[in-house]
């Protein structure tokens, strides 16, 4: 039996089939990057249109590749938010139709929970069992947060420990990359150039933000403004060597803030009530960054913590992680008529923000 995952929250259309033990049988992704490249970012209406073009061929292909039939699908998980509302609605509507027609329950998955659990998906075979408690660092183009996840005794409690006060870390990568003339998405380009350069914090003195009230929140907008200032002053776009050093320093400054917050959070969490977290998961698009993956492993060895890194194919948006999060939330699976899409949706806090209308539904 399978759980079907559907993801259409941003610019990737994805469909996945997982076994009940979390084994990924099939994870198909149709990326729209090329379609949005001329605009320097994701255009919501184009994203929505592309999702509808690709979703149904992907659904049929996923079943074909897995050799599965519809009556072997027992649950559907769909990203209900956060994301681009028009894009989300394509996946949600399709999931509602499938679930209603098949008479199987539908789980509305929070996209961030998809990322949060993704490091526990295996390259092959069953998923890695979730530890009783772990920290999950979710860093992408839209999100930058560290979560405290407790799964002990059949619970599923997720507490958001920090967030970004302004830009997300991946967004900072992309915006600065765009400013120095690198193509979208800029994160991988900065990493590539940084490998050829040398971090020079004297030449490029990027600020590390500190809040008065000793908050562990992230803030990347100061770094972004600083980066754009130095890039302009040193004309780094015109000189390959300077650009490489600039990228290396900029990337280093972003990660320095990440680890400085993680250090503080780790010290606090070790003093909290048991169970003691023994694993740290790193997730989201920025978790594909090779330099960060190396530094995260080193941090784990230093602190005697197991570090879980997602397969690179599970870092960017994908439906396998949505189906996997759906498995964790299986108890909440229900009536497809009641599912809504949410452009904003929080993890760990009040579950849903910005509720606007009541559905027309008879209690069944």
């Amino acid at each position: 039996m399978y759980i079907l995952g559907i993801e259409t929250s941003c610019d990737e259309t994805s469909v996945a089939l997982l076994r009940a033990d979390g084994e990924v049988r099939c994870n198909l992704i149709s990326s729209q990057i090329a379609r949005h490249q001329p605009f320097g970012g994701v255009v919501p209406e184009i994203a929505s249109r592309e999702h509808l073009v690709h979703l149904f061929p992907l659904l049929e292909e996923a079943l074909r590749q897995s050799g599965a039939s519809w009556n072997e699908v027992e649950t559907i998980a769909v990203t209900a938010g956060p994301g681009l509302i028009g894009a989300l609605l394509v996946g949600v509507s399709a999931a509602q139709g499938l679930s209603y027609a098949l008479g199987i329950p539908l789980v509305a998955v929070n996209h961030l929970e998809g990322h949060l659990f993704s490091p526990f998906l295996s390259a092959s075979g069953a998923a890695i069992p979730l530890p009783p408690r772990f920290l999950s660092i979710v860093i992408s183009g839209g999100h930058s947060s560290i979560y405290d996840v407790v799964t002990a005794d059949g619970r599923l409690e997720i507490e958001m420990l920090n967030r970004t006060r302004d830009d997300a870390i991946g967004e900072t990568f992309d915006k600065v990359a765009k400013f120095v003339g690198l193509p979208y998405p800029g994160g991988p380009q900065v990493e590539r150039l940084a490998r050829a350069g040398k971090a020079d914090r004297k030449r490029f003195p990027f600020p590390v933000p500190q809040f008065k009230e000793s908050s562990v929140d992230f803030s990347f907008s100061g770094l972004k403004a600083g980066a754009i200032r130095w890039a302009r002053q040193y004309r780094v776009g015109e000189d390959q060597a300077a650009l490489a050093d600039f990228c290396a320093t900029f990337q280093d400054a972003l990660f320095e803030q990440l680890f400085s917050r993680l250090d503080t959070i780790w010290q606090q969490i070790r003093r909290s009530a048991p169970p003691r977290p023994r694993e740290i998961a790193l997730a989201g698009g920025v978790a594909a960054n090779g330099v960060l993956r190396e530094r995260m492993q080193a941090w784990g060895r230093q602190h005697d913590v197991m570090v879980r890194l997602p397969e690179k194919r599970f870092c960017t948006d994908n439906a396998a992680m949505i189906a996997f999060a759906g498995l964790q939330r299986r108890r909440e699976a229900g009536d497809p008529r009641l599912v809504k899409a949410y452009s904003r949706m929080l993890v760990g806090g009040p579950r849903i923000l910005g509720e606007t209308s009541a559905p027309l539904v008879r209690p069944s």
């Binding site: 073009v53 149904f56 609605l89 499938l98 209603y100 008529r337 209308s357 559905p359 027309l360």
Partner: protein, 205 residues
């Protein structure tokens, strides 16, 4: 032949169930927002009320615009999903074509709708001929209305059920053995995304 039809492209959301050309049940409700929260409940209400099992539906008919971009996508995604899971066919009908249908075939007529921003969607029909919808200025609209027997989508919607007409059109298409022509479930947007228009203008300058 049991046909389930719906329209989510227009501000009034409608769902209809017919047996061929015979109407069994229909519902219409306000549908400007949250259409995905209304469509399945409406479908379920129509089926449950008549005691019709979803497996008994033989054909799914859905409009594909022009109209609300999001609405068109919700209708097409939901109905394609229903048909896919139940192993049935979808008959995707241009919204204006459903309205141009009378008796057994399309009639000579011009169907138009407000497209916002001072522009209009218009489609011209003749028996057996369905012209793709185009974007018209107010002046173009007025001359088209003067030259044709015309139907305003808003006026039609005010006293008739678009999904019923969609189901009847689908029944005629099925009878004429032309369902294969109506497999194309591509939305009729007519307009490009705003960003594409701006990018094209930039290139022109």
């Amino acid at each position: 032949m049991l046909i389930l039809a719906a329209d989510t492209s227009l501000p009034i959301l409608s769902v209809a169930l017919t047996d061929g050309a015979m109407l069994i049940a229909a519902v219409a409700l306000e549908g400007r927002n949250s259409r995905n929260e209304k469509l399945l409940p409406a479908v379920d209400w129509v089926l449950a009320e008549q005691g019709v099992d979803r497996h008994a539906i033989e054909l799914f008919a859905i409009t594909r615009g022009p109209g609300s971009f999001t609405g068109v996508r919700i209708g097409l995604a939901t109905f394609q999903a229903l048909a896919l899971a139940l192993g049935r066919t979808v008959c995707s009908i241009p919204t204006h074509e459903a309205l141009a249908f009378h008796g057994e075939d399309l009639e000579f007529s011009f169907v138009y709708d407000d497209a916002g921003r001072g522009e209009f969607y218009g489609s011209t029909f003749a028996p057996d001929v369905s012209d793709p919808a185009r974007l018209l200025t107010r002046a173009e609209l007025q001359s088209a209305i003067a030259a044709n027997r015309s139907t305003s989508v808003a006026a039609f919607m005010a006293d008739r059920n678009v999904a019923v007409r969609t189901a009847l059109r689908a029944a005629a298409i099925a009878r004429a053995d032309r369902l294969s022509i109506y497999r194309d479930a591509t939305p009729i947007y007519v307009r490009l995304a705003e960003a594409e228009v701006k990018l094209a203008q930039k290139k022109d300058d």
